[in-house]
Structures are given as structure tokens and as C-alpha cells.
């Protein structure tokens, strides 16, 4: 349900950056451990972008896999949830990838002379 608020943020930030120009494409990076469902964002995007400069924009989402780093042995390993156990037995880990929640780039309609 928080995807609605998240998508409102996306539309607000992109609208600001576009400075009134039409947006053709929005590229997001959403980590698989970020607790955000890309499909829910897509659904909300269609609704919230209506009557804004993003109305016709194509939404692209990069989903980043989760990677943890063990604080004890510094081993890096894949995780599909925001916790996990290293092969050394420690569960003290840092998540080094997978929590991204970013607008990476936007493509705006531009008059090039």
C-alpha cells in the first residue's frame, strides 16, 4: 500500500526535474530487499501520472538483487530477504545491495536546434 506514497514521490521528483517538459521515459532502480513491489509501483504510476507531464511516460524498472557482506569474515553472498547467515556461521551482516530505491534517469522531450 505504501507504493502509492512512493509513486507520488516519484511523480513529484520527476515533475520538478522536467521543468514543464514532457517526460518520455522514467528509469527506476528498486532493490529486491527494499520492501517495494515493482508491479504495485507500475499500477500506481498509471493512475498518478495522469494529467501530469509524465502522462505518456514509459516506466522502466531495474530490480537489483540482494547482496550481503559478512561483518566477521567479509564474505559476500546473495540474499533474497533482508537477513541471512554467512557460511562462517555469523548472522551479523551488512546489506550492500538490494535496498536501492532510486530514480536513475528520465528522458524528456527536448527541442534540439
Amino acid at each position: 500500500m505504501h507504493e502509492l506514497g512512493i509513486t507520488q514521490n516519484i511523480v513529484a521528483i520527476v515533475t520538478e526535474c522536467a521543468e514543464g517538459r514532457k517526460v518520455q521515459r522514467v528509469l527506476l532502480e528498486i532493490g529486491k530487499l527494499s520492501a517495494i513491489m515493482p508491479d504495485a509501483v507500475r499500477f500506481c504510476f498509471d493512475v498518478i501520472s495522469q494529467n501530469t507531464v509524465l502522462e505518456a511516460a514509459k516506466l522502466e524498472i531495474i530490480e537489483t538483487n540482494g547482496i550481503a557482506k559478512c561483518l566477521r569474515c567479509e564474505n559476500e553472498f546473495s540474499v533474497d530477504k533482508p537477513f541471512g547467515k554467512c557460511s562462517c556461521g555469523s548472522n551479523e551482516i551488512n546489506l550492500i545491495a538490494g535496498e536501492e530505491l532510486k530514480i536513475k534517469e528520465i528522458e524528456i522531450e527536448e527541442i534540439c536546434v
Binding site: F83, K85, I106
Partner: protein, 300 residues
């Protein structure tokens, strides 16, 4: 010249077509722009020497731009390109950056006033408000505690807290499923808590969304009652991972429910090895003392 980045094209000759010409510029402010030029200019028989300034061109209809030659009616095309194309702006902005910025401001505000601010999060019905009211009543002679209540609707919880005599502000989020930093900023303006005090923020009952939204609190507390499943920490790992403290409530009911408290603690530590854990019952008052001592230590 491109009106966005100032890039110039070669004006020495007519370009017949230029598809998918991608180039990248770094502007003086460090912004990187990558864009594509997708232009297709019909051949103009070598006669087009017309130069049009960018400012003039913007006033013209750009689609199907056709200019008349002063010497006749034959159509010529400007040799400079003039098309609508896509410009890619690299943004790399965190979607929650606005909330995070406000949260930092709230945090600074709390630090300056030496206010210990707790963000209490749980599913609905875990006993947050009951624990809060009990804590305020028992510590009212030792600590100044004020409350920000978050619920979708009603001022019922605020009224319950108000009965303890402390100041309380109710935030109703309507359809919103969590409090955010801006709501807290506004709530604090209303509440105006004194220096050296405690602010308890009771978040909307929800184990998912509040984990994402930093409020600027000093400490995140997740509350779990024994009438819920003991595997909640691994079912909702985000909130348990992001919390500093877990309070297990209603432990007087342990003999009557199928809740393995050791297993629950094990799960919580699996998700968050550093989490501090309290086990309390407001009914028989067990465990409250250590919770109170911990709170008092944070202020004095």
C-alpha cells in the same frame, strides 16, 4: 546548437540522416546529460544556406518545417537540425530523499532540545497505547513524556493518552498507512515539547510501511504481543531489522497462547543481532521495571 546542453552540430554541410546518435555531456554544474538525436532531413539539392537562430526557430512549428525560398516556391530545408528528441537526464535521486531530509531536520531538532524520541511501531492491537498510557502514568513524576498519536481515523487513542495528563497531538493519516517526517514536523509544532523530555510517537498500526519512513526519531521500537505469531520477526523482517528495540507485550497471557517466546527472540536476533529486547505485561506489571530504567537512562 542544442538549447539544453549547448552542443553544436556540424554546420558545414547538410546531413541526410542521423539516427540514434547518442552523446554525453557534462554540464558546468556536474550534471551528466546523455541524449539521442534522431533527425532525418530531406536532401535540399545543395541550395539551403538558410541559417535560423535558435530563438527564432522555437517560434516556428517544428514538425514538417518547410521554408520558402525567397527566389521561388521550391521548398528548402534548413541545414541545421530542428526536431523534438529525447534528452536523458541522469538523476540518481533516492525516492525517499524528501522524507529523509525532513527526518534529518527533525533529528537535529530533537538533539538540540535533548529530547529522546521513540517511534513505536507494531501491528494493530499489540497494546501500544496501553503500554504507553501505563508508562506515562508510572513515570509522570520522573519524566516529562509527550505523545504524537498516529491513526488512520478517530481521536480515541489521543483521548486515552490525554487522560494520563500529558500533552498529546493526534495525527490522522486518512488513507495513509504510516507517519512520515513531515507529519512529525507539523505535529511537533503543535506539541511543542519542552527540553530534556521524552516524545513518544505512536505510529499507525502496521508492520510493513512504517519501516521505510524515517521520522528523525532517536530510537525505533517494534512492539509484538504474544497473541500474535512468534514468527513475526522473520515474516516482517524489514521492521525488525530497522528497529533498535523490541518489546514483547501481554506476557501474562503466555500460559494460554501458543507463543514460543524463546523462538521469537531467536528469530528477532536472526534478523537483527543487535536488537534490545524487553518482555512486559501491563496487567501484572512484570518486566516494566527494566523498560522504565532503560527509558530513564536515555534522558538523564
Amino acid at each position: 546548437m542544442c538549447v539544453t546542453c549547448g552542443c553544436s552540430d556540424d554546420n558545414s554541410g547538410v546531413r541526410i540522416s542521423n539516427l540514434e546518435d547518442t552523446h554525453t555531456h557534462t554540464l558546468p554544474d556536474g550534471t551528466t546529460i546523455t541524449h539521442t538525436h534522431t533527425h532525418s532531413h530531406p536532401l535540399d539539392n545543395g541550395n539551403s544556406t538558410t541559417n535560423i537562430k535558435a530563438s527564432e526557430l522555437q517560434d516556428l512549428e517544428l514538425k514538417n518545417l518547410e521554408l520558402e525560398n525567397s527566389e521561388g516556391n521550391s521548398k528548402i530545408y534548413p541545414k541545421i537540425h530542428s526536431k523534438i528528441h529525447g534528452t536523458t537526464l541522469s538523476i540518481e535521486e533516492n525516492i525517499l530523499s524528501k522524507n529523509n531530509l525532513r527526518a534529518v531536520q527533525n533529528k537535529e531538532w530533537f538533539t538540540q532540545k535533548n529530547i529522546f524520541a521513540l517511534n513505536l511501531m507494531s501491528s494493530p492491537g499489540s497494546g501500544k497505547t496501553t503500554l504507553l498510557a501505563k508508562t506515562i502514568n508510572d513515570l509522570k513524576n520522573q519524566l516529562v513524556i509527550n505523545v504524537i498519536e498516529g491513526d488512520q481515523e478517530t481521536i480515541n487513542d489521543a483521548q486515552k493518552i490525554r487522560e494520563t495528563g500529558c500533552s498529546v497531538v493526534q495525527i490522522n493519516t486518512g488513507t495513509g498507512c504510516h507517519l512520515d517526517a513531515e507529519m512529525i514536523e507539523k505535529g511537533l509544532q503543535e506539541l511543542n515539547p519542552p527540553v530534556n523530555s521524552v516524545v513518544m510517537i505512536e505510529n499507525v498500526g502496521n508492520l510493513v510501511c512504517p519501516a521505510l519512513f524515517d521520522l528523525g526519531e532517536t530510537c525505533k521500537v517494534v512492539i509484538l504481543s504474544v497473541t500474535e505469531g512468534d514468527d513475526k520477526p522473520i515474516k516482517y523482517p524489514h521492521i525488525f531489522r530497522n528497529s533498535d528495540v523490541m518489546v514483547i507485550t501481554k506476557i501474562d497471557l503466555l500460559p494460554y497462547v501458543n507463543f514460543d517466546i524463546e523462538r521469537c527472540i531467536e528469530y528477532a536476533q536472526q534478523v537483527n543481532p543487535d536488537i534490545q529486547i524487553f518482555q512486559v505485561s501491563v496487567v501484572n506489571e512484570s518486566g516494566l521495571k527494566s523498560w522504565y530504567e532503560w527509558l530513564k537512562d536515555k534522558i538523564i
